[in-house]
Symmetry: C2
DNA sequence: TAAGAGTGTTCTTTATATTGAACACATGAA
DNA sequence: TTCATGTGTTCAATATAAAGAACACTCTTA
């Protein structure tokens, strides 16, 4: 019934986080205001805690539900990606070169973007929620977010909620180069 | 006891997502394999669903728990940050200039980093989990992750799990310039 | 040994989430 | 109107999570 959506192991993850903080079940329980039995049960996956209960427990770490479920990407290995091995994920007048090949299960996506003069990348209203940011390295760019246009040059940056409709365009004479990041990965 | 950790409104968020998909409570319930009453209760915040129960419901959207809780950071406004208004968050031989001033409740952090020759930034084992990535713009950098050293030049990039111990150093003759991003924000 | 303090686990009761059916209210068709 | 089908909500029964106390175990210290 379920897709392969990383079935995060709540118990293991909680235990992992707790131990990283050097806390015993009782110590965490006390900080969080729950019983030690609850912590034990949850860690052993003998129960599936209520969201409010889990939030309560996580308050003792402390960590938010978002961070908790942002989850362990598993151990992916490659750390360094050479300039020529960034994965090209767009063609034509726009070059999107992604850091890392397979982002399945990851929380972050970074892209080295290049736009030929006049090139533009418009994304309509995106249902997927998240955040994105970028910093211009070279060239001039026109950024439109939620109907408002902004002109950015080298060193300028942006940060917005991905759900807002947005579009990018190179309005300079030369190439536009920028580094962007978004979470969660959008494609 | 709690920090201002955005107390996400589970009910409102679920309803919002469901409506965005154009589903009725019953339609979603059927796809998810739960009762319509459950959907109603959860949306009205009359109960705090179990994690397993919520996952079940979200499978009908479909969306993962991570995405669900990555959550709406509320409407923050400033979209564009000029080069000279990036917030300096480190001093001395290292310059960290952050995109956006207040990242409270946000999921993403982007930093424009500059290192003088020889400067280094070592972070020991970081308890906070997450991911980080970066791309070198100028100069040569030595990156050490989990005991392994890598040398990177312009255009090269990295991507790793923040929990692994890591350190950065400028090993070039000139300035090292890079753009990094991490999720969740680490400081 | 024994006693004490620490660990995580297991028990029984209590609180709460979830179900399936009934409910109340809309809209559109005969 | 009357019926049919849609919506979201509420109710009583059942399944499950949470609490508090007891348990079993490992240490350290006397």
């Amino acid at each position: 019934m379920n897709d392969a959506h990383f079935d995060i192991d709540v118990g293991a993850r909680l235990r992992d986080l707790r131990l990283k903080q050097g806390l015993s079940q009782r110590a965490l329980a006390k900080r969080a205001g729950v019983s030690n039995a609850t912590v034990s049960m949850v860690e052993a996956n003998r129960v599936s805690p209520s969201v409010s209960g889990l939030r309560q427990i996580l308050a003792g770490i402390p960590i938010s539900l978002g961070e908790f479920f942002a989850g362990p990407p598993g151990d992916r290995e490659q750390v360094v990606f050479r300039a020529d091995e960034l994965k090209e994920i767009a063609g034509g007048p726009i070059s999107f070169r992604q850091v890392g090949a397979n982002l399945e299960g990851r929380a972050l996506q970074m892209i080295h973007e290049r736009y030929r003069p006049g090139a533009e990348s418009g994304k309509a209203m995106l249902s997927h929620q998240g955040e994105e940011a970028g910093l211009v390295i070279r060239g001039r760019m026109l950024l439109e977010v939620a109907g408002i246009r902004h002109e950015l040059g080298p060193g300028d940056a942006y940060f917005f909620d991905s759900r807002k409709p947005h579009a990018f365009r190179n309005i300079g004479e030369g190439e536009l180069e920028l580094v962007s990041a978004c979470t969660p990965p959008s494609f």
